[in-house]
Amino acid sequence: MTGTGWLPVALPVALLAVPLLGALGLVVLPHVLRPVLRAYGLVLSGVTLALAALLVATFDYERPASPQFELDVPWIPGLGLRLHLGIDGISLPLVALTALLTFLCFGYLSWGRARAGEFLRARPRALVFTLLVLEVGMIGTFLALDLLLFFVFFEIVLVPMYFLIGIWGGEGRRAASIKFILYTLLGSVVMLLGLLLIWAQTGTFDIEALAAAHGSGMARSVQILAFVAIGIGLAVKTPMWPLHTWLPDAHTEAPTTGSVLLAGVLLKMGTYGFARIAIPVLPEGALAVAPWLGALAVVGIVYGSLACLAQRDLKRMIAYSSVGHMGFVLLGFATLTPTGINGALFANVAHGLITGLLFFLAGAIKDRYHTADMTALGGGLLATLPRLGSVLTFAAVASLGLPGLAGFWGEMLALLGAFRPADGLPRGLFLTYMVIGGLGAVLTAAYFLVMLSRVTHGRPPPLPAEAEAEAVAEPRVVESLAARPVATLAHRDVRPYELLAWTPLVALILLFGLWPGLLLSLTTPAVHTLLGALP
């Protein structure tokens, strides 16, 4: 332990307790809090973010491989379930990312007068409650060092996300939310069976002990079975092709904050599970299944890119792009090399930042045009809304993996890992994966550029929807409509609250793009530890 004060133990507990107590407060004192709802959510997520920042500041960077800030108390002795929390180099960036994105979502909701006000008007208390519970589940997943505790937190996010999509979503929200929750529950129940199989063989749920044992005590066949079961659960969440079909619907129908958190954090819970549980605890199983995992990963990369090329809806396209990006992450894991897994973890964080930003932008566009259909949007965003267009271009270019931005390093390292996979894996096969993955990267560039050429470039069309809306509001200026669009749209460009929500993401994308060592130095020692058992 670093230091012996109260801080090391209190921090992870506080990270969970602040949003949880905040959510309970909304149930207990609804009337007291009603007038200050906006500030309430913002302050609580802000405190959580501050705690996460404190965590980042006091983390012992000399030993990123071993869990710090550990808390280990029994919860259900009869089940062997312990409240075992801790943070190492793999979970630290993800905890910080979660706290940041949740805070930005609250910021986006609370400061946005015009539309977010409208959004918040539909049951604001329930919305703040849902987001806070969601935050508990997300942070808890990254903190848990007990298999069953991990599962519990993994499940906690389901119900809030179900309601987030089902109540505040778009037209097809009902079907999308049901599909989301059924699909993910099926995955997590199968994962539970895998976790219990590990327990039945080893008699412990403690991730630290299991990872240190490197799979000893479990026969190879058991490891393979457990890896497949756990892998299916994680792959649904990630999502891995062909288990991804819930994702486009959920993303398209979810409100902006829902999409941001879904893409930015929830998908990471799946990939994080591979790094935290599946690979270190079941090394032999990982070695046996890795070629299959790699194959599905590259299919996902190519499939995601091709599906993106065929999309007309901006949000749907970004959703499918997640399938492709997560393919790179899974390919990185499948190589079982420090390089590949480092790349996967890096791509994980980068994807959270970039896709979070992209969904914020898609939400902003949908607000202004009341559609996210790319043909209906016409083009010329750079001319009508120059700032929004620029940020969109930046995010798209970051996502397609331009060197110098965060999206590049993860994909590059994942492909590099595939070039020289771990001993015991068929190198020829992984070289093929690398080539296909590389082609997928080209396709990724293609669809993002096609999207940009459709949306940001070209001649701006007249905006009938906008004009009508304005005409109803201000009937006296109807005659001058034709001359107006550019002038009236100017004030519809990036608003201050949007800028506040987006700037940290843009800054971090630049920072990690220019200085990847910042993140890699955290994950590398941890990755070496978790790969310890592999030949």
Binding site: I76, I156, V159, Y162, F163, L182, L193, L197
Partner: protein, 492 residues
């Protein structure tokens, strides 16, 4: 030779029986006024609480009590004399479960009876009679006592179901329940007589010892299968499940709750006693049968629940599915040992009782306004009555087994753990898929609570219902925070 009776051991059923007699007398001599109905309810409640107090006192002593034993002179040599009535950990947990559920059901009854359509005295008398059976059953340690106690649980319920007079559905439900129950009793008695014929003893402990000698004899196998089938009717396991929905829907809501919790717990208590106490050596015979029954029961229950529009019918099929989950650990008794398997089953049963009663309490509240009690009547309940809406949402999430309903989640984990440990992978997979199917209808119902209603119904006040709902939900919340409590209770 006179029998020594340990009155402390039989105090819980005795208190209930005396209260039943008292209620019947009071009903005759008190004037028929609304206040009397409430008074009778309170007397019943007091009786249940006294009985629960005796159960707690028995638990405090920490001893195993036995009475109605075979006199030492007749028992012969070898081991202690077998007793017909034994109070041990298992008995106490199930008696406690039944009585705690009875508190909620009596409170629900007071709401149901407040309208005056149903005679209160008879109702409470019959309810108490059922409870006498339900408390006696887990203590029974011989086959005759077991069958008598089970009949005592079942018979008053027919009458309770039919007490809503001049109601076609209720009468139909009562007849259905009667026919099914009589057939199941006949089947079970036949099985019991075969077992008795082959072993020459009715005491469960004697049976366990004697049946080893006749292992593999087809008649014994037939006897076991018939006894399992008889209990299968009581717990509405496939293929004896068809009566559930019609009976639940036709019966008054508190009776449906009684059937789904008390009656079901009794059925399971009997099944566990016969299988795990009397026939543990035969686990190879009945284990696979129970596994298949469990898989079919959960699947059929969940699939039938998917298409239901009526809240009570949905809960009926969902409780069939939940029976399948309770059965599942029993299937691996042979591999993981009786204690672990029974522990997992009973733990699930305890948690199920809390969450299911919570749901039924809210259903009764809505049923008082919306006679048809369809799922669409629940639209916007969370806005009309936040407490009831949230309580129902919590219970449904619990039943589905998702956080924040951690009680339901851990209940499923207990069962999954037992099955995985026992090596029945296919059953674990079937249950995993069933959990997902189940989630669909619970989630759709829960979502209705939060969607705005087209027409708004005003709920009628039901003062006795709030403590019932509060009690059930509070227990479910406590179990969510500290599931260890359930494990401590059912550690047996």
């Amino acid at each position: 030779m006179s029998q020594q009776i340990d009155y402390f051991a039989i105090a819980p059923p005795l208190a209930l029986a005396l209260t039943a007699a008292l209620v019947l007398l009071l009903d005759v001599f008190l004037p028929h006024r609304p206040r009397t109905r409430a008074a009778l309810g309170l007397v019943t409640l007091a009786g249940v609480l006294v009985s629960l107090g005796f159960v707690l006192a028995q638990a405090m002593t920490g001893r195993t009590l036995g009475t109605f034993c075979v006199p030492p002179a007749l028992a012969g040599s070898g081991g202690p004399a077998p007793c017909s009535y034994v109070v041990d950990g298992f008995t106490l947990v199930l008696a406690g479960l039944v009585l705690a559920s009875a508190v909620v059901i009596v409170l629900m009854s007071m709401t149901e009876l407040a309208d005056g359509g149903i005679p209160a005295g008879e109702w409470h008398f019959l309810l108490l009679c059922t409870l006498v059976g339900a408390v006696t059953l887990p203590a029974s340690r011989d086959l005759v006592m077991l069958v008598v106690a089970l009949e005592l649980v079942s018979l008053p319920v027919f009458a309770l179901t039919a007490l809503k007079r001049y109601d076609g559905r209720a009468s139909e439900a009562a007849v259905k329940l009667f026919v099914v129950s009589v057939v199941s009793t006949a089947v079970m008695l036949f099985g019991v007589s075969l077992l008795y014929g082959m072993t020459g003893t009715v005491h469960l402990s004697g049976l366990a010892a004697q049946v080893q000698a006749v292992t593999g004899v087809p008649v014994v196998t037939v006897g076991i299968v018939l006894v399992v089938a008889g209990f299968g009717f009581k717990i509405a396991a496939v293929p004896f499940h068809a009566w559930a929905a019609d009976v639940y829907q036709g019966a008054p809501v508190p009776v449906a709750a009684l059937l789904s919790v008390v009656s079901k717990a009794s059925g399971f208590a009997g099944l566990i006693l016969v299988l795990a106490t009397a026939l543990p050596g035969q686990a190879g015979t009945w284990g696979p049968v129970v596994a298949i029954l469990s898989a079919l029961t959960m699947t059929a229950g969940n699939l039938l629940a998917l298409r239901q529009r009526s809240a009570v019918r949905l809960l009926a099929w969902s409780s069939v599915a939940q029976s399948g989950y309770v059965l599942a650990p029993l299937a691996v008794t042979g591999t993981i040992g009786a204690q672990a398997a029974v522990g997992a089953s009973v733990a699930y049963l305890v948690i199920y009782a809390a969450m299911n009663l919570g749901a039924f309490a809210v259903v009764l509240l809505v049923a008082r306004t919306a006679g048809r009690n369809e799922l669409d009547d629940y639209r916007g309940l969370a806005f009309r009555s936040p407490a009831a809406g949230l309580a129902l949402a919590f219970c449904l999430v619990c039943l589905a087994g998702l956080p924040p309903g951690l009680a339901g989640l851990f209940a499923k984990v207990f069962v999954f753990r037992a099955i995985v440990e026992g090596g029945l992978g296919w059953l674990a997979l079937v249950m995993a898929v069933n959990t997902v199917i189940g989630l669909y209808y619970y989630a759709v119902w829960a979502a209705r609570l939060f969607t705005p209603a087209a027409r708004s119904l005003t709920l009628r006040a039901a003062p006795a219902l709030w403590p019932a709902m509060g009690l059930a939900v509070a227990v479910a919340i406590v179990f969510s925070l500290a599931p260890q409590l359930v494990l401590d209770l059912t550690g047996l």
